[in-house]
């Protein structure tokens, strides 16, 4: 049943993801709009800047509609000639209206404006008033352009392709591992130490403190913290140790309770579970920090887990934990907090190790396979980094325009903007 569900799930995802490029291709059939030639109107007297002219007035690409993109060539007097352009003022008129209305101003030197206040289905015409102080000269008036929603966000095509490759490789390795192939996984010291840390608390007769970060369940780090809790709680149940888990979000409260309860059931000790193991403090960041610090100082837990999303409180927790002599295991994907945890805790799960932890602790082939799939993404990243470094080096040494443009094109695929 489980295998069947996974297969159907994977097939469903693949079909849905394939539907996206298909709809994009279908959307490409829409006709373009051309710019109409109209007369040039000039107001004012001498020393007027010469007008900028539209090169592109078109429905904005890959959006949900409601937007038209305008591009133009700089006025010959912007940065050159009389050099007296101060700004470009954009005027708009909807079909059926009689007057143009100013909708925005752009600084000199810029050549693009997105009018994001259009209504889909209505035709809009535009002109630019190239201004110098209080006078200006008008551009040609553009033809009427209509905005509409698209079926595919073509601006994200690169993200889509890379995403597909990585998703497919993760899914592929999940199935591959399921067939019983051997997988090598390096040791993660922080996770190897979990049993020892719980054992120490048991021997000392002191509780274990578990902090799942300060964000809600919609953050994937909190989800990772809760999945690791599932494994940790099972060992805690088996060792009959006490766990204290103060949380700062109500949904985390209910999820963590359910996770611990299930872990106690799985360990065959449902009677030992109590709702009081998890309790809510406050959503407020530093109120939470103060309360947790108080718990640490009063109860002196033998072991502290900080697994999830952390901000400035990371060092406050870790230093207080150190001062009470607790073994501390931390894990977060907040790069800015990692140095604090590394400096003050005994073990730290760094970034991706946090997400790998649950799979690592479970030891299930399927879960471990997904980690292997991640490596494909790493290989792509490494190859692209080395390739681009090489290309840019060659381009700067040989001053070759062709190599430079190739390098820039490849960089464009992997750049956000």
């Amino acid at each position: 049943m489980k295998i069947c569900f996974n297969k159907v799930a994977a097939l469903g995802m693949v079909l849905l993801l394939l539907a996206v490029p298909y709809s994009w291709l279908a959307a490409q059939a829409e006709p373009d709009t051309l710019i109409q030639d109209t007369t040039v109107t000039i107001t004012g007297q001498e020393h007027l800047p010469r007008p900028a002219q539209f090169t592109f007035v078109h429905d904005s690409e890959g959006d949900a509609g409601g937007s038209i993109t305008l591009k133009w060539t700089l006025s010959p007097d912007d940065g050159a000639g009389e050099n007296n352009v101060t700004s470009y003022n954009i005027f708009r008129k909807a079909s059926g209206e009689s007057e143009f209305e100013k909708i925005g101003t752009v600084a000199s030197g810029l050549t693009e404006y997105e009018d994001a206040t259009t209504t889909d289905g209505v035709a809009y015409s535009y002109y630019i008033l190239t201004s110098s102080d209080s006078v200006g000269s008008k551009s040609d008036i553009s033809a009427g352009v209509v905005s509409s929603a698209q079926w595919f966000n073509s601006k994200d095509l690169d993200t889509f392709i890379i995403g597909i490759i990585i998703c497919f490789s993760v899914i592929f390795f999940i199935f591959w591992a399921q067939k019983g192939k051997k997988l090598y996984l390096r040791k993660i010291a922080g996770l190897e130490a979990v049993d020892e840390a719980i054992g120490r608390a048991t021997e000392m007769g002191r509780p274990i403190l578990y902090i799942p970060g300060i964000l809600d369940m919609d953050d994937v780090q909190t989800v990772a913290g809760i999945t690791i809790l599932g494994r940790v709680a099972k060992t805690i149940a088996e060792y009959d140790t006490k766990i204290n888990m103060p949380v700062s979000r109500s949904i985390v409260l209910t999820t963590a309770r359910e996770t611990i309860r299930q872990a106690y059931v799985a360990a065959g000790r449902p009677d030992a579970y109590s709702d009081d193991m998890v309790h809510y403090l406050t959503d407020e960041q530093f109120g939470y920090v103060a309360a947790v610090d108080g718990i640490m100082v009063r109860e002196k837990p033998a072991t502290c887990f900080y697994i999830g999303a952390f901000f400035a409180e990371s060092l406050i927790f870790a230093e207080t934990g150190h001062s009470i002599g607790a073994i501390q295991i931390a894990g977060t994907a907040m790069p800015a907090q990692l140095p604090f945890f590394v400096a003050a805790c005994d073990y730290t799960l760094i970034g991706e190790e946090l997400f790998a932890a649950s799979a690592y602790l479970s030891g299930e082939p399927k879960q471990l396979g997904s980690l292997k799939g991640q490596d494909v993404g790493k290989i792509i990243a490494m190859v692209v980094i080395v390739l681009l470094c090489a290309l840019f080096t060659v381009a700067s040494l040989t001053e070759s325009e062709a190599v430079l443009s190739l390098a820039n094109t490849i960089r464009g695929w992997f750049s956000a903007s």
């Binding site: 079926w151 993760v170 899914i171 299930q262 103060a290 400035a312 003050a344 991706e352």
Partner: protein, 227 residues
């Protein structure tokens, strides 16, 4: 059945949200926003659960006179006071319809005179803890630790005027040896490279973990693995 329904919901919602990221057209466009709004609505209702839990835990502590119960009394009193001040807008010049955080209201006074200094004190602890943690952590015990120590030292020195005062003599082609320049180089090159590598690793980890959850391979958050 108890396990299958949440798994199916996760699969459908997860997949639809991935598709919505690439399809701006209706009905997919804005789905991500709507779902995150739904989450907030649920979270607001769940807050009653959290607040209820807080009150219950502390009332139990007080009634049973457990250790440190006076702290619980302070917690409950603070909770009730701020709740009343915000809910009934006590002292609000605009009455019950005015902005909750307006100057002159009890809520604003509690915020300015109690909440602000308490919060600032907690954050200020960082300055002290950074000192004690670095005293302990930056020891030249191994080669790696020595590199870390030297980098930390250069950055600390580079962020003070003393850095420039000590090494301002390096000019011309030796200017890069001025400590502030070295500190900027450490931040801009090795630090940035490390940060980006960690971020790439995290992004891949998130993809892999999300897929495990969407495909139902990872079920720990629903309890243990046995159906």
């Amino acid at each position: 059945m108890r396990r299958t329904v949440p798994l199916v919901i996760t699969l459908i919602v997860g997949t639809v949200l991935i598709v919505a990221e690439f399809v701006p057209h209706k009905p997919f466009g804005n789905l991500g926003d709507k779902f995150s709004m739904y989450f907030d609505i649920i979270a607001v209702f769940a807050f009653i659960l959290g607040g209820g839990n807080l009150v219950r835990v502390h009332i139990t502590k007080i009634s049973r006179k457990k250790a440190d119960w006076p702290f619980s009394a302070v917690t409950l009193a603070g909770f009730a006071l701020v709740l009343a001040a915000g809910l009934f807008k006590i002292g609000n010049p605009g009455g019950i319809r005015g902005d909750v955080a307006v100057v002159g209201s009890l809520f604003n006074d509690l915020y300015i005179f109690i909440f602000t200094p308490l919060q600032a004190s907690m954050f200020a602890l960082l300055a002290f803890y950074v000192g004690s943690a670095s005293y302990r952590a930056f020891r030249a015990k191994t080669v790696e630790a020595t590199i870390l120590l030297v980098a930390a030292f250069v950055i600390l020195l580079g962020r003070t005027p003393f850095g420039l005062w000590l090494t301002g003599g390096f000019t011309g082609s030796w200017e890069f040896l001025q400590v502030p320049n070295l500190a900027n180089w450490i931040m801009d090159v090795p630090n940035l490279a490390g940060q980006r590598a960690i971020m790439i690793g995290i992004a891949l980890g998130v993809i892999s973990m999300s897929l495990r959850i969407i495909l139902g391979v990872e079920r720990t958050y629903l309890g243990q693995d046995n159906d």
